[in-house]
Subunit: 365 residues, 2 copies
C-alpha cells in the first residue's frame, strides 16, 4: 500500500476541492492551485489546503501525487505539464472520460506516461465550484481507476489508495471499458433527460400544470451545466453516439408500433415487450447500500402540521429500537398535514407498525 | 356548487379506492363494485365504502355520481353501461387518456353523452391495487376535468366538485388538449425512461457498478406496470408517437453532432445548444407547493450510525422552532455514518446552522 503523503491538487472546483477536503480529513498534506484566484481563495478558506505558491518550492516539498481536476477540454495539457514539472510524482485526474485523455497525454508526454494513471470518482452534483464541495462526497461511491499497459504498478497503487482514502470503492477497468460504461450509465441518461426537458420549452402553462413527480425525476439531471456536459459528451463522442442512435431507433420503433397499434395486435405486443425490457433493466440497478431497492419496505405516517411532531415521531420509533433506513417528507400543498415515508427492513415492518399504533400515529400502507 | 351525495365507484384499484377513501373522509356515501372480488373485499375492509350488491336497490338509493376506475381498454364500455344503468347520474372516469374514451362513449351511448364528463387526477404510484390506496393521494394535485360540447353544465360542476372534495386542484381543458398535455408531461417521459432502462439489460456488472443517483432518478418510473402503460400509450398513440419521433430525431441529431464534433466547431455548439434547451425546459417545471424548487435550501448533517441519533437530531431542530420542509437520508455503503439532508426555507438556514452547531452536529453545506 503506497499512501500519498504530499498531494498537489490542480483545479479547485467541486471535485478537486472535495478530494482535497477528504484527504485533509485523513491527515494528508495538500497544496492547491487554480487559474481562477477566486476559486483558490474559497478552497483555502474552506480548509482544503495551502496555496502552492505560498510554500517555498524546495525539492523536498515536491508532491508524490498530483491530482488534476480541471475541465475536460484542458485535461491532457495540464496532466502533461504536471508530469514534466514533478518528475518524482504520480499524476492522476478526476475527468469523466478516460480514453481521449490517455491518448492526449500519450501524444504530449510519451516519455512520462508510466507515471500517469486515470481516475474517475462517480460522484458529483448539479452544483459546481468549491462552495459545493464536501469532504464526504466520495464516501461509499465507486471510483474508477483506469491503468494502461505502460502504467507503473506503484503508480496504480497510489491512485487506488487515494480513492480509498477518500472513502470510495475502487473499480479497476481500462479507459475504453470505462468510457463504454459511463456512456451507458451516465452520458446517455443525461442526453435522454435533456431531450425530455427540451420538449417542455414549448409547453403551455396549462400543460405544465399537469406535471407530476415522474417528470421531475426524469428531468432533474437536465439542469446540469451545459458547458461541462458538452465537453464530457464530446470527449466520449464515439460510445455515446452509438448508444444515442440505438435509443433513437427504439423511440422510432415504439412510435411506429403505436401508430400501427389499432390495426395490428403484433404492434401492441411490441410496445409491451419494450416496456417489459425497461422493467428488467431498472431492476438490475444496485440500490443504496449495494442492495436491491426492494429490500426496504415503506411505511407512510400522517404527520400533523404542528412544531415538534417530527421529533416526537422519531423519538417513538427509536425508543422501539427500530432502525430507519430512509425518510421522505411529502407536504401536500393546502393540506393541513404532511406525510412521512419511513423505509425499514422487511423484518422491522411489524414492530414499526406496532410502535406507531401504540403511540397513536395515523399510518397508511 | 353541486355536491355529490351518493357515489358509486366501479373499479377498486389504486385510483378508485383512493377516490372512495377521500370521499368518505368528507362524509360522502360511497358504494363499491369490482369484477375482482378480492379487490372489492380489500377496499371494503379499508373503509372505502359498501359493496353495491349489499344495499337493496331502491330507486331512492340511485347514485348521483358514478366514478369509473377500470383499466384503459375497458373504460368506454363500462362508462356507457353506467350511463344506461343509472339514468339520473352523472358519470365520470379516472383514465389517463381522454379523447379516445370520449369517442368510444359517443359511439356506444350517444343519447346519454350529456351526462358524461371525463376526469383525470394527476396522482398515482408505481404500486397498484387497493392496498396502495390513500385518502390523501390527490391532496394538492392537479385533476384534469375534460368537458365536451354536449356536456350539461351541472354535470361538469359535479365532477369539478368531486375533484375539490378529494383535495385536488381542478384544471379544465378539452379531451384533446388533455391528451396532448399528458403525452408531453407523462407518456413520453415514461417511454424515455424505459429506453434508458432497456439499455441496461445488456450491461455488465462492472458497468452497473458505476451507476449513480442520476441514472436511478431517470429510470425510476420505468418500473411501472407494462400492461397498464401499454394500454395508456396505445390509447394516446397519435400525440405520443408524434413527440417520440421528435425526441428520436433530437437524439439522432445530437449523435451526428457528436460524431462530427472533432472536425466541426458548429457541431460542438449544437450539442451545447441542445443541453441549454434542456436547462430552459426543466426550469419551467413548477416545484412542490407550486413553488420553484430552489425556494428551499438543503443543509447536510453527518449522522453517527447509532440508534436514536435521528430522534436526537429532530428534537434539537424542533426545539429551536425550525420547520423542516423535506428530509432525505443517504446511507453510504461501507461508511460508518449516514448523511441527512434537511431542506428549509432560506430564512431558516442561519437559525438551523446555529442550532446544529450549538448541539454539536457535524454539518456539511
Amino acid at each position: 500500500m503506497t499512501r500519498p503523503h504530499r498531494v498537489h491538487v490542480i483545479g479547485t472546483g467541486l471535485m478537486g476541492t472535495s478530494v482535497a477536503l477528504a484527504l485533509r480529513r485523513r491527515g494528508v498534506e495538500v497544496f492547491l492551485e487554480d487559474a481562477n484566484p477566486h476559486h483558490l481563495r474559497l478552497a483555502v478558506g474552506l480548509g482544503a489546503g495551502t496555496p502552492v505558491d505560498e510554500g517555498v518550492r524546495q525539492p523536498d516539498q515536491a508532491p508524490d501525487l498530483v491530482i488534476v481536476g480541471v475541465p475536460p477540454a484542458a485535461l491532457g495539457a495540464v496532466i502533461a505539464e504536471a508530469l514534466e514539472r514533478y518528475p518524482g510524482a504520480v499524476v492522476t485526474d478526476l475527468g469523466s472520460v478516460k480514453a481521449a485523455v490517455l491518448a492526449d497525454v500519450s501524444a504530449r508526454a510519451p516519455q512520462w506516461l508510466d507515471r500517469y494513471v486515470g481516475g474517475h470518482p462517480m460522484a458529483g452534483s448539479e452544483q459546481s465550484g468549491p462552495l459545493a464541495a464536501r469532504a464526504d462526497l466520495f464516501d461509499g461511491r465507486a471510483w474508477a481507476v483506469t491503468p494502461h499497459p505502460r502504467s507503473r504498478p506503484e503508480a496504480v497503487e497510489i491512485v487506488e489508495e487515494l480513492a480509498r482514502l477518500c472513502g470510495a470503492l475502487v473499480v479497476r477497468m481500462s479507459s475504453t471499458e470505462h468510457d463504454e460504461a459511463v456512456a451507458l450509465v451516465s452520458h446517455v441518461p443525461q442526453v435522454a433527460s435533456s431531450v425530455v426537458a427540451g420538449l417542455l420549452t414549448t409547453a403551455s402553462e396549462g400543460q405544465l400544470a399537469l406535471a407530476g413527480q415522474g417528470l421531475r425525476d426524469v428531468t432533474r439531471i437536465a439542469a446540469g451545466d451545459p458547458s461541462l456536459w458538452s465537453q464530457i459528451l464530446s470527449a466520449n463522442a464515439g460510445p455515446v453516439a452509438r448508444l444515442l442512435h440505438e435509443a433513437a431507433e427504439s423511440l422510432h420503433r415504439v412510435a411506429v408500433a403505436l401508430e400501427k397499434g389499432e390495426t395490428s395486435e403484433y404492434a401492441g405486443r411490441e410496445v409491451r415487450r419494450f416496456l417489459e425490457r425497461g422493467v428488467t433493466g431498472v431492476r438490475r440497478l444496485p440500490g443504496k447500500h449495494g442492495k436491491r431497492p426492494e429490500t426496504f419496505v415503506s411505511v407512510t405516517v400522517l404527520l400533523p402540521d404542528r412544531p415538534g411532531e417530527l421529533a416526537r415521531l422519531f423519538s417513538d420509533v427509536s425508543s422501539a429500537g427500530i432502525n430507519i433506513e430512509d425518510v421522505r417528507i411529502d407536504h401536500s400543498p393546502g393540506a393541513p398535514a404532511g406525510l412521512v415515508q419511513l423505509a425499514v427492513h422487511p423484518d422491522a415492518v411489524s414492530p414499526l407498525l406496532e410502535a406507531l399504533a401504540r403511540h397513536g400515529w395515523d399510518v397508511h400502507r
